[in-house]
């Protein structure tokens, strides 16, 4: 038994001419919440599908929970829980019926299943909704049901594919509380997202773009290691300033955030503030260095690749 829950080497998947995942190496430790951060179409779902044996890799090796995938995918299925991007339980079954169905599929004994379902209904605040049709529930309620079902057979590894994309911020926070509970109990969780706030909660992150692994590490590490400099500009007519700034060679990106313009400078800029002051040539602007955020890390990681 190795320390890694998931190990992948040179993992690739092509769909015809399209390369969805391109030679990715991964090492995901047991017991951690590991995030795949990337925009839509970056290969997150394809990665997850390959890791749980639903898609055969075009190239590369995968070991999940010491099982060789996809050869031993059947043996893996008892040990993993999977929450698909699209709600995939039965809309025309009630909450309790959906849970009973999946309990039987996983071969839980009658008594054990009953107790487990009762426990999950309480833990995920679904008791009052046990006889409601899944199709009639709100986005947040459905996600709770989907998570409850994914953990029904107490898997050691949980795959969550953009679990909160249809959920409001409050429900999202509650959802993450549940994930931390599971993580504390020893479950390894792999979660994909395109939300920065969600990514920030992960123990470790992999930034994916166009099927390539751009960067990897804990959120704090990634932010600390960011070599690009971040400058916040305050002032008037920021849209014009942004256009101007984007024309400067050492500016990686510029994005307006409320009353400020957030500029990401290339690591080559030794003195970003004077460089910008000179380049923009506008005394009415206030320029300050800022602490890098995860979004900055993400933008820097994905931009580097474009320029190179």
């Amino acid at each position: 038994m190795t320390d890694a829950a998931i190990e992948a080497r040179g993992l690739s998947r092509h769909f015809g001419d399209i390369i969805a995942v391109d030679r990715v190496d991964l090492q995901i430790p047991r017991g951690e919440i590991y995030g795949f951060l990337g925009p839509n179409g970056s290969g997150k779902t394809t990665m997850i599908r390959m890791l749980c044996g639903l898609l055969t890799p075009t190239a590369g090796e995968v070991r999940v929970l010491d099982l060789e995938i996809p050869r031993q995918a059947e043996a893996l299925r008892r040990k993993i829980g999977y929450m698909t991007q699209k709600f995939s339980l039965y809309d025309d079954l009630t909450v309790a019926e959906n849970m009973r169905f999946m309990a039987r599929i996983y071969g839980l004994q009658r008594g054990a299943a009953k107790a487990r379902i009762q426990d999950l209904l309480e833990r995920y605040a679904l008791t009052s909704m046990r006889d409601r049709f899944a199709g009639d529930m709100s986005g947040g309620q459905r996600q709770r049901l989907a998570l409850a079902v994914a953990t029904l057979h107490q898997p050691t590894l949980l795959f969550l594919d953009e679990p909160t994309s249809a959920v409001d911020p409050e429900n999202r926070r509650d959802f993450w509380e549940k994930l931390f509970d599971l993580s504390d109990a020893g479950t390894t969780i792999l979660v994909s997202t395109h939300y920065m706030d969600e990514a920030e909660r992960c123990h470790q992150l992999a930034i994916l773009e166009h099927g390539r692994l751009r960067n990897q590490g804990s959120p704090a590490q990634l932010m600390a290691q960011l070599e690009s400099r971040v400058v916040e500009i305050g002032g008037s007519d920021l849209r014009r300033v942004k256009e101007h700034a984007m024309g400067l060679p050492l500016v990686q990106s510029a994005a307006q955030q409320g009353l400020h313009l957030r500029i990401l400078m290339s690591p080559d800029a030794s003195d970003p503030l004077s460089y910008l002051r000179e380049g923009l040539d506008d005394d009415s602007l206030s320029l300050n260095m800022a602490r890098p955020s995860l979004e900055d890390v993400f933008v820097a990681a994905t931009q580097e690749q474009h320029s190179s």
């Binding site: 599908r49 749980c52 044996g53 639903l54 898609l55 055969t56 996809p70 995918a73 059947e74 299925r77 008892r78 993993i80 999977y82 698909t84 699209k86 709600f87 995939s88 339980l89 039965y90 809309d91 999946m102 599929i105 996983y106 071969g107």
Partner: protein, 368 residues
């Protein structure tokens, strides 16, 4: 004007989508093409080549002369010769022949006396076949070359005819059991052909295939409820047929249940196979119709199987409905035992096993 513009927008979009759905587009062309060729040849209300047996108790030259004259009418196709009427009756029950021509021992005497020469034993359950054979009753018969029978004595009919199973020649007797085959084909295939496709469309399948459930378990689990649906339907059809149309039930429940379950199995597994091929519920529906149409027209439900040309018969043999049509009519109307109809029974069971195996192999637990 702007309304026309918008109508055109919708039409153009619809055409674009239609042309991208390969299966639907194919069906638009294939359904009229294949069905026309098929049914243009198959639909032939002029009945020929009815399989019959001959029992000659007289062993005379006259019998051979008459047999030859019956043969050249082409209405019948002489398949076998039996020594006793009993053997011929058993063959009729088993469905290997539809009628038997029995020449009595005193054939010469009858010929001289101007009495009917021989007797037809006819399976009257199919009224089209029955009528064709009844028409032979008064056919002119020459006892010796060039001498018509009428030259000996004034004419009574050439033959006597005994219509079994349906002496009043009511078409319901044949139609009601046949209808079970059509209705079961329709509902059984329709229900299951949509089964997997629906789960794929709704996204349920992606979750289901990450669980330990085996493909064969999914398949069988999906089929079981529809077995009961099929049994309820056949009970309604046959029960009402007996109550309202006085269709006689001449067989046993055990035989009836056996052939029905075999056919339900064949239809459900065929539907399942469609379900692994179709990408959308719409496509599954079209494929079902593609099987339903020939099942109605070629299975012997509307036109006697024996009267169809060879190519149409070959196609009919592939359809489970054709085999069930023979089984249910035999078991229900003629009181046949399953053992007498084992060819069709084995075919249906084999078909079920093969379809289930192919569907299970086609259904992979991956998204590749």
């Amino acid at each position: 004007m702007s309304s026309l513009h918008r109508i055109w927008a919708v039409t153009a979009k619809e055409l674009k989508q239609l042309s991208r759905d390969r299966v639907t587009f194919g069906m638009v062309v294939m359904i009229p093409l294949i069905q026309l060729l098929l049914f243009g040849y198959a639909i032939n209300t002029e009945v020929r080549n009815i399989p019959i047996a001959v029992v000659d108790l007289s062993g005379s030259a006259i019998a051979r002369t008459i047999t030859e004259q019956v043969r050249v009418t082409q209405v019948v196709d002489i398949r076998t010769y039996y020594h006793t009427p009993r053997e011929a009756e058993a063959a009729i029950v088993a469905g290997t022949v539809r009628a038997a021509l029995v020449f009595p021992e005193n054939l010469a005497q009858r010929a001289a006396g101007g009495e009917p020469l021989a007797q037809w034993l006819v399976d009257g359950s199919d009224t089209i076949v029955g009528s064709a054979l009844l028409a032979l009753r008064n056919m002119p018969v020459h006892l010796e070359a060039g001498v018509p029978r009428g030259a000996y004595r004034a004419a009574s009919p050439s033959f006597e005819v005994a219509l079994f199973f349906n002496p009043e020649r009511r078409s319901e007797v044949n139609v009601v059991p046949g209808l079970t085959a059509i209705i079961l084909t329709m509902t059984m295939i329709l229900f299951t052909s949509a089964a997997l496709v629906r789960e794929r469309e709704r996204g349920n399948l992606e979750l289901l295939i990450t669980t330990p459930v085996h493909s064969l378990e999914i398949m069988i689990g999906k089929l079981v409820p529809y077995v009961f649906v099929g049994l309820i339907q056949i009970t309604i059809i046959l029960g009402l047929g007996m109550a309202i149309f006085q269709v006689p039930f001449n067989g046993t429940l055990g035989n009836l249940a056996a052939v029905t379950l075999a056919f339900i199995g064949a239809s459900l597994t065929l539907g399942l196979l469609i379900s692994t091929i179709a990408k959308t519920q719409m496509q599954a529906m079209q494929m079902t119709v593609f099987i339903l149409m020939p099942s109605i027209l070629l299975s012997g439900f509307m036109f006697p199987y024996d009267a169809m040309p060879r190519p149409a018969q070959y196609i009919a043999e592939v359809l489970p409905a054709t085999h069930f049509m023979r089984l249910i009519r035999g078991v229900f109307l003629r009181g046949a035992e399953v053992s007498q109809l084992q060819g069709d029974m084995i075919w249906l069971l084999g078909f079920t096993v093969i379809m289930l195996a192919v569907a299970t192999l086609r259904f992979r637990k991956t998204l590749d």
